[in-house]
């Protein structure tokens, strides 16, 4: 096919049209900033409760520490959310659920690992039955503490927002189709080997 003809939108090549529209909207019109801004104020966490950090997660959205003022609204279904808070220990069975939940979420998606157990085992260090969340999903922000207070969770959300704004994570996903600052983690061993639907 003639290159010149392909380069013009009115030839009817939908890929070229899509690329041009993307360049116009994200490059010239700086729509990427708007998308990043929108993503920072619309971080809806999915509620993956694995252990006692869930109580602190609930307290973060309770009347005293109201995290909804940052636009974060806890949501149940992973399909409509864009970030996930891993609330505590991830056992080997829960790793499969975590990976499935992560795969169900649409891009751009972010992960916060909450609590000492999610960092490096915490109370369950040297246990036979835990995995680290970074072996299963790419983690953006860690919250230390056992369990972390609600202020720390709100602080982590603000940190995640700053990270999205500075590194332009949401709009770069639109441009590049993948996040290059975090390598896509493929679990070393199949976390869902014990369960086959």
């Amino acid at each position: 096919m003639d290159v010149k003809a392909v380069d013009k939108v009115y030839v009817g090549n939908i890929n070229v049209a899509a690329r041009r529209a993307r360049e116009l909207l994200l490059g010239k019109l700086k729509l990427g900033d708007v998308i990043d801004w929108a993503t920072t104020f619309s971080l809806w966490p999915v509620h993956l409760l694995t252990s006692c950090c869930g109580a602190e997660f609930a307290a973060t959205w309770s009347p005293r520490f109201d995290a909804e003022q940052y636009g974060a609204l806890p949501w149940v279904a992973p399909r409509q959310t864009n970030f996930i808070i891993i609330e505590g220990t991830v056992t080997r069975k829960m790793a499969c659920a975590l990976r499935i939940t992560y795969e169900q979420m649409p891009h751009p998606k972010f992960v916060i690992a909450m609590g000492a157990c999610a960092l490096d085992g915490g109370l369950f260090y040297n246990s036979y039955n835990i995995v680290r969340p970074w072996e299963v999903v790419p983690v953006d922000v860690y919250i230390p503490g056992c369990p972390p207070p609600p202020e720390a969770v709100a602080r982590a959300i603000i940190d995640l927002r700053r990270k999205i704004r500075e590194k332009k994570l949401a709009s770069r996903w639109l441009i590049e189709g993948w996040r290059h600052d975090r390598d896509p983690v493929k679990p070393a061993d199949d976390v869902c080997k014990w369960w086959r639907p």
Partner: protein, 341 residues
């Protein structure tokens, strides 16, 4: 001359009807309803609610941010779905939802609103408002997910019970004014003989049925979070989910417009003039403000009431709401017989 041309262009009925009112207005009202819902629930629970995106607007920009995020998010199409139905149904839901607006006159003059002199406009509008739930059943089935199927089954149960009540209760004004023409019904209520005051039973039944059949938030039985994940919309992500969610709010808004017209007097204390400004813009704005108040009251109920189970809702439909609607219909006939309206 120039001003007249511009005014005519602005007030050109199809433009106002479909573009400005249909899409922009309905979208705006849906966003305000969502914002008010979140904010009111937060204030009732002594929280702040959406705030930091735009403190002066009370966090309204957070809803805009949600919308932009949904539009630019990835759209996941699972491999097991029926692709054509899965992709086309949300669009069809939105189109069919907006369709009744074409038959709801917001101005008494045929010049500005071509269907104003049409008989049976109330019947046609009501018939069209009952279409979108069928498409909800279709999209639940197309998702090929058990939560979707259960959710759409619940939707079909609820609409079977409550659409009947809604139609009966909203047809009560037609019985008392002896006409299906919305403009005639509105003019009969001039100036303050509002049917919500004269016939509170039918108004209550209509309000309750609209609340239930559009699955407004305290009664969101089809998409209850705790039982079926997101109901019929479980598999939808990104812009398709935004279309579905917006469709629900727009449907509630259209019901609210009908209620504002036939029960709350439409543009009633105001007598429309003949030129575009006094004859068209002011009456339609009055109707929209009344409808918005109805929608906001519905949104506020989220923070106050708990959710009914499916069996309780159906029980309330057949044992409470249907007799209420029939009583309202009887009351309307008595009103018409005694020439009270």
């Amino acid at each position: 001359m120039v001003l007249e041309t511009i005014l005519y262009l602005i007030a050109y009925p199809p433009l106002w009807q479909v573009l400005i009112l249909g899409f922009v207005g309905a979208l705006l009202v849906a966003m305000v309803a969502i914002w008010f819902e979140r904010k009111a629930a937060a204030r009732v629970q002594r929280r702040i609610g959406p705030y930091w995106a735009s403190p002066r607007l009370g966090g309204f920009m957070i809803i805009v941010a949600d919308m932009i995020r949904y539009v630019t998010q990835q759209v996941i199409i699972p491999t097991t779905v029926d692709k054509i139905a899965f992709l086309l149904t949300p669009v069809a839901v939105l189109v069919v939802t907006i369709l009744p607006l074409a038959f709801i006159p917001l101005s008494p003059h045929e010049l500005y609103w071509p269907v104003a002199s049409m008989e049976y406009s109330l019947l046609i509008a009501l018939a069209l408002t009952t279409l979108p739930p069928l498409l909800t059943v279709v999209l639940g089935w197309a998702s090929s997910n058990k939560f979707s199927v259960i959710g759409s089954l619940r939707e079909s149960y609820v609409i079977t019970a409550y659409e009947l009540v809604a139609v009966l209760a909203i047809l009560a004004p037609a019985a008392s004014t002896l006409s299906f023409n919305i403009v005639y019904i509105v003019e009969a209520q001039q100036p303050v003989k509002w049917l919500a005051i004269l016939n509170p039973l039918a108004f209550l039944a209509a309000f309750l049925a609209v609340l239930m059949s559009t699955s407004a938030f305290p009664f969101e039985i089809p998409e209850s979070e705790h039982e079926v994940v997101a109901g019929p919309y479980t598999e939808y992500s990104g812009i398709l989910y935004a279309l579905n969610m917006g469709g629900g709010y727009i449907r509630r808004f259209i019901y609210a417009i009908i209620i504002a017209l036939v029960f709350l007097g439409g543009w009633a204390p105001y007598t429309p003039g003949l030129d575009p400004f006094t004859g068209f813009i002011i009456p339609s704005l009055i109707v929209l403000v009344k409808a918005s108040i109805v929608v906001l009251v519905m949104s506020f109920l989220r923070a106050v009431y708990g959710r009914y189970r499916l069996d309780q809702a159906l029980d309330a439909a057949w044992r409470l709401a249907l007799p209420l609607a029939l009583l309202g219909l009887g009351w309307s006939i008595i009103l018409a017989y005694m020439n009270l309206i």
